[in-house]
Symmetry: C2
Subunit: 259 residues, 2 copies
DNA sequence: CGGCTGATTGAGCGTCGTCAATTCAGGTGG
DNA sequence: CCACCTGAATTGACGACGCTCAATCAGCCG
């Protein structure tokens, strides 16, 4: 399942503007002509606003699989919009324990955690070769003081992240292993579908261990639950290739139909 | 442990401005003279900005113990800053399961979840008789377009909520019962201490069941863990009255010193 | 092909949930 | 003032879900 035809009108990058110290500067695609604009920051903006946003989001950055876009403790300067690829974010406790807090795909924002303390509080690691748009936060704040729609959209994105986190808390706090995995798969397919991918076939970009960390389970439990879903005829599982055979069945699981 | 001397210069309320349909309008205290301003939205604002904020936060609302400040599904219009009292927020799944997502005390903001979808996505319920300052969100957005400091502070507050949520995910995803309860107690006392309360004596405003819901445990487990902490000499537990005897011991528990 | 990482599967155990009984605190009314 | 009632908290016994430890298997890349 390669990244689809989403990539449009890629142009050679101009020299980085403004003296930002972004590590690998790559290409430039205007937000106004980006296929992800309906899923990303530009949603709802007027043509004029889009033009200004285009100037703001001037640099891009490539991150290779396994590399970090940023790490906890690094100074916060920019937000990042995933253009292509796939990321995980994870927080770490002092004792080394760590927890995957989310998986991000094209059109989703990374780095919101850094605003509060002027430094990032989690790691963002690419799970496949990826590209992000760099959004200097000071510029974004400035522009969002000018444009109501941009301000509004940014606030909605932050709020949506909070609502998402609450959903994860519900999952971690009160669901059992099968319910968690079912909810996770349905969430993934839903987001992939919004990006034009098949709702029934997907390739997991993360390991069983990463899924387990996200869901508060051990990797063996994740693996076992996948096998059980296969036995029950809900899924077809071939390593990281998943085919959903009974979406309604998964949905039932999430809604406590186990009782 | 009654609400301390925090309440200052309470004045009779003027008639509600702007036609907001807030249910019970109560008192008015200017943000500029509020004892909580260093913990709340006014943090870092200039005198001029504070004056404008004072006009914006014109109404207050009293919520009696057990009543909801807002409920999931209700239209979102305003944020709320807790002035006195104590709240819980909880989300519900379709099947009735619900999850406490947080406890809010004086100076903390409620309602951020509502921004994303123009309606609230969780319930906010008072755990004791409380008062909140009503912050009409449209006004806040307008004012934060004028004032950099206000914009910045608001963004920091949203981001802080995201970081907090990630901490809860870590707790729910990878800690055991004792660690969860210890982390919870330390967090509570820390926040109470920032508000001038004793770091060692506290009164829980919530039931064991609510604590359990927040921590992803059953109420019996919470109760048992309290008892164990008492046996171990970490706490003195008398129903909802808790005295912390060994803060360092609790801290050790949180940092996986169980091994 | 060999070595490596990730995934699967099994056996046994531990933590926490379930069910149930009892105690405790607070409020109400006789 | 005490008996009563209700909701919350405590404590015990038991069982299940998921974790631990371990062996095996499947891909992948040098």
């Amino acid at each position: 399942m390669p990244t689809t035809e989403v990539i449009a009108s890629i142009q050679p990058s101009p020299p980085p503007v403004g003296g930002h110290t972004e590590r690998n500067c790559a290409f430039k695609v205007a937000c106004s002509s980006c296929n992800l604009r309906e899923l990303c920051l530009p949603l709802g903006l007027t043509t004029q606003e889009l033009e200004r946003l285009d100037k703001l989001v001037a640099t891009r950055r490539s991150v290779r699989r396994g590399d970090a876009l940023f790490r906890a403790g690094e100074p916060f300067q920019s937000l990042y919009a995933v253009r292509t690829g796939f990321f995980k974010t994870c927080v770490s406790a002092e004792d080394g324990r760590d927890q995957v807090t989310g998986f991000q795909m094209a059109g989703e924002l990374l780095g919101l955690d850094g605003i509060s303390g002027d430094s990032h509080s989690c790691d963002a690691v690419a799970l496949e070769d990826s590209q992000v748009c760099v959004i200097p936060f000071a510029d974004l704040e400035r522009l969002s003081r000018e444009f109501v729609d941009l301000q509004r959209q940014f606030h909605k994105i932050m709020s949506r992240e909070i609502v998402r986190d609450h959903g994860v808390m519900l999952l971690l706090g009160s669901m059992r292993a099968e319910e968690r995995l079912a909810a996770f798969l349905l969430n993934l397919t839903q987001r992939l579908q919004a990006r034009g991918f098949s709702p029934s076939a997907l390739v997991l970009r993360m390991t069983r261990e990463e899924i387990g960390s996200y869901l508060g389970l051990k990797l063996e439990t994740v693996s076992r639950t996948f096998s059980k879903f296969q036995d029950d005829g809900l899924l077809e599982v071939k390593q990281r290739h998943i085919r959903i055979l009974d979406q309604a069945g998964l949905q039932q699981l999430v809604n406590g139909a186990t009782c």
